[in-house]
């Protein structure tokens, strides 16, 4: 171990050039090699693969990263105080007449939860053996047909436990909408508490109600998971 000196490798010009050469690679060589070895309908070359991921995958990854890493409360505030003010006047007026707080909360919470749900769905899709998609194609389904009739029904079944988990999460996060003026359960409890000065009792009521509805959602989710489970799945 005493002879271990990484800098001796990295700082030596010829070794540095060799490493950089290896990192950079030659797309043309790599493409030819992959084209010769891979004829199963996958990405044929490094170039195509990188261009493919650059569009849809990276856009969705950015969307998911934003919604997972920014607090939900901040997202609600951004929608209510930020994006709302950028909307056209007519739309602002319409929203103000139709309970803008609730509508924007639904949009903010829905978009945020879609990021979590999409990861659940992605894991559900990736859990399906590749042979299923190939079999659907062999039966004459196109991409949309194979997704609709073969892949998605199985993916949703695979993802049900995670979807239920995140649905409970959404139910609990709905209490954050109080911050932008939605008069939901936590808001009502806060009102009761400020009228009666019985803090412990008021929040105990909220705790019991949230717990009861969360357990109800979990029970429904468990029933759905049992009812639609894939035969043979553990």
């Amino acid at each position: 171990m005493k002879d271990f000196d990484l800098l001796a490798i990295l700082l030596k010009p010829e070794f540095g050039d060799m490493l950089l050469h290896g990192l950079r690679g030659h797309p043309e060589d790599r493409g030819r090699l992959l084209a010769a070895g891979d004829d199963h309908g996958r990405s044929c070359c490094w170039w195509c693969g990188s261009r493919r991921t650059a569009i849809a995958e990276r856009t969705v990854a950015a969307y998911v990263s934003y919604h997972r890493n920014v607090p939900t409360l901040v997202q609600l505030m951004l929608w209510y105080f930020g994006i709302f003010s950028l909307l056209p006047d007519a739309l602002q007026a319409w929203l103000s007449e139709h309970n803008a707080e609730t509508l924007l909360s639904i949009v903010a919470l829905g978009l945020c939860q879609a990021a979590y749900f999409s990861e659940d769905m992605r894991s559900g899709l990736r859990a399906i053996p590749a042979g299923q998609a190939e079999a659907a194609r062999a039966l004459g389904h196109g991409y949309i047909g194979s997704m609709r009739h073969v892949m998605l029904p199985q993916a949703i079944r695979n993802a049900v436990p995670a979807l239920v988990n995140h649905s409970v999460s959404l139910f609990k996060n709905s209490s954050l909408a109080m911050a932008i003026g939605v008069a939901e359960l936590t808001h009502a409890v806060k009102e009761i508490e400020s009228q009666s000065f019985r803090t412990f009792e008021a929040y105990s009521v909220a705790t019991v109600l949230y717990l009861a509805f969360s357990l109800l959602i979990m029970a429904v989710g468990a029933w759905v998971a049992r009812r639609y489970r894939i035969v043979g799945a553990r």
Binding site: C44, V182, L185, L209
Partner: protein, 77 residues
Amino acid sequence: MFSIFEILRDNWLLLLVGQYPNGPLGGIVATLILSVLGIVLAFPLSVLLALARLSPWTPAALCPPRCWSTSCAACRC
């Protein structure tokens, strides 16, 4: 302990629907509406996002200028 039941007895309508019909709909009904509509919005969007993330589709305009295989499913070029 009895205070909890008193609070429920005195404020059950506020807990259920908030100030409605004299004000906006609130309480547990508003919470459930937020949750259900949030899920209704999130689920179809999540399916599209998941498919977009795994989809092999690439717009033709973004196809690379040269491809080395005739069976490339990634760019269809």
